[in-house]
Amino acid sequence: MKIAVCIKQVPTREWQPRLRDDKTWIREADVSYEMNEPDAYALEEALRLREKHGGEVVVCSAGPARVQQVIREALARGADRAIHVEDDSLAAADAFVSAGALASAMADETFDLVLTGLQSDDQGHGQTGVVLAERLGIPHSTIIMEVQIDPSTSSGQAGSLRVKRELEGGWFQWIAMPLPALLTIQSGINQLRYATLKGIMAAKKKEIRKASLPAGLQPSQQIVALAMPARSKQTHLIGGSAGEAAKELVRLLRDEARAL
């Protein structure tokens, strides 16, 4: 199996977002970065599939020079090599541009399976994987909770897989798909491994192929303005009898606050 994992570098979750003066993006000078969380699970899934079925895991990332940090981390955790589409303009690229950049660098590699995270922790469109599948001309499935590869599948041959998708409200769906395919992976589907110190040192010697941004890739959307969410406190009084109020409270907690 030749597996690609697409990884994005995003601001750390602890970081208190601060906006640039023009209010169209964050102040990058302030930020410390980390691997996008669902991407870390996608990488882990790829490493597990490689352990079961053999083959190689190739990390692909589109971004400015600084994304080397997460590429190195992925190599340290066990990926075999990496492809980096490097361009400063990719720092705040939309899903269309990111997917286009990745597709151009990945097209020649003919991967059996491409994994991405479900969405990014910064822009959160949840589109990069889907658009990338279209650009690579392969089928895709989203919000994946489990991946089973048909044991008769081997590299280079048409194979198949079964995947478990998360639906709303605690429902799941199993579907069968042909390979090659692209899956967008949900966080929490496996337990992440650490980069061992040995892995970290070994990663130094692994190949990172640089690719450049293909010409003519135009953003399809534009961020006009960003605003910090205003903190608001609202008191909502629920009327009715105790029994009715309790029912309504449970409904609100479940459907609106999503606390249940």
Partner: protein, 589 residues
Amino acid sequence: METTLTKGGAWLLEDTPDADVFTPEKLSDEHRLMAQTTDEFIANEVLPNLDRLEEKDWELARTLIRRAGDLGLLGTNVPEEYGGLDLDKVSSLIVAEHIARSASFAVTYGGQANLCILPIVLFGTEEQKRQYLPGLVAGELVGAYALSESGSGSDALAAKTRATKQADGSWVLSGEKMWITNGGFADVIIVFAKVDGEHFTAFIVEKRFPGVSAGKEEHKMGIHGSSTTPILLQDTTVPAGNVLGEIGKGHKVALNTLNFGRFKLGAMCIGGSRQAIGDAAKYAAQRKQFGEPIASFGAIKHKLGEMFARTYAIESLTYRTAGLIDAALAGGTHDGATVAHAFEEFAVEASIAKVAGTEVLDYVLDENVQIHGGNGFVRDYMAERYYRDARVNRIFEGTNEINRMLIPGMLVRRALKGELGLIPAAKRLQDDVLAPSVPSTAFGDEGMLEDERRAIAAFKKVALMVLGTAMQTYGQKLTDEQEVLSYTADILIDTFASESAAIRARHALQSGGAHADLHEAAARLFVNDAALRVEQSAKSALAAMTDGDTLRTLLAALRRVLKVTPVNTVALRRRLAEAAVARGGYILN
């Protein structure tokens, strides 16, 4: 590259080019990943289990040591052929720094990595290394180090444990060791005993050897999640091949182990301080009194700013020391004796890292309790536990008093051996400062932190003045003058810390890196207050050694040398405090 500055203590006599100093900003991607791995391991596997460790679940401690072994955290300084990774000392520093948050487990880890694995790496025979290191590095065996006894702690060489040679070449050990970290579940123990009651010698003793047993767990003030017990040796037979190092040279094993152990303890203090500043800043931002977050009050900003600057100083000096050791060991692998020699070369810096680190940490943790108010005194918050856990750091790995004696003591010894040009420098200075006007020294023209650069040059002169006067006044008897030695140690610590902080801040300003303003504020604040402490210590020391006209002349010279204009430290502390609150802690990147 210049090699003179890779000599221990050389910073006191020479100007260090900024570029030669290692700083946390120079960490490689690999170093940062090591920090991340260690952090994740502590956060996911150790912190959620602290309570179980505090209930003395040593099976769990063993499992965690094994996990640390799996990740490679125990083998940073071990050659590859024995299962280690043979990394630079900066890597060891990083692992120690990031393990520190787990207080109790950090002590368990230290007992294993610093006190058991390290002496075998440094002094073990090929046979011993092959027998013990792979298991210890993998965390399959747990290690300990048994030097102290009830009657001999600081005076460790006065140990009463005896070793007697048998006809077949084996040894019989008997005695009782005290306060042994990991004692309750260790498999391999480095034991110090006197051959025929005379020749101090180290042995590798296995717990399963007949006659070895652990006594009851001590009831401690803190680090309840680490094991501390007596180790009893009742006519224990130890094979001939288990002498570590040479017979009668146990002090070499003991001291060289401590040289590096002290440095790593200093590194742990950075991690502990950083954690507490994060907790304190977050608490201060969220706790409201009089309708305002307490973080908005000047008194609280004073604390946060000071915690920040002092942590910056210990971090700067500890990373610098790691860089010095790595530079001395640059290029390829080295045998144990070479590595031990490098640790010995920087023993002064290691003692400084230990004393400064543990005292800054205790200051930070005390203020952390204070910022938490009543909540700081109850067990629902970590502040109370940190405060208790850290107290032992000033006691073990050589008390801070003992380390304070060592700092000037080792410099003087090197000077007398002609290894360090301390005596001629002190003489030159005497001629200079006693002359009616001090020639103004020309400084670099980078135009950054110039006042601080001048102040630090002055600290060095003050250190030389005090040390020179002390050597002249007391000669061989200087070792009896502990108060003067302590004052001198304090001046030396502030000098090394100030210079390391200022050089690092200049790096940050020159590279225009993120938050260079915070580096600058921390360094300026630290150097400014160091000047006040240096002046105070120097006056006390000089007044203890001289009187009348001599004292007056020296004090006048001191005033001329140490002309430092105070800066607005209120503004600097506020800036640091506000940054800590805005960013959720001591964050410089």
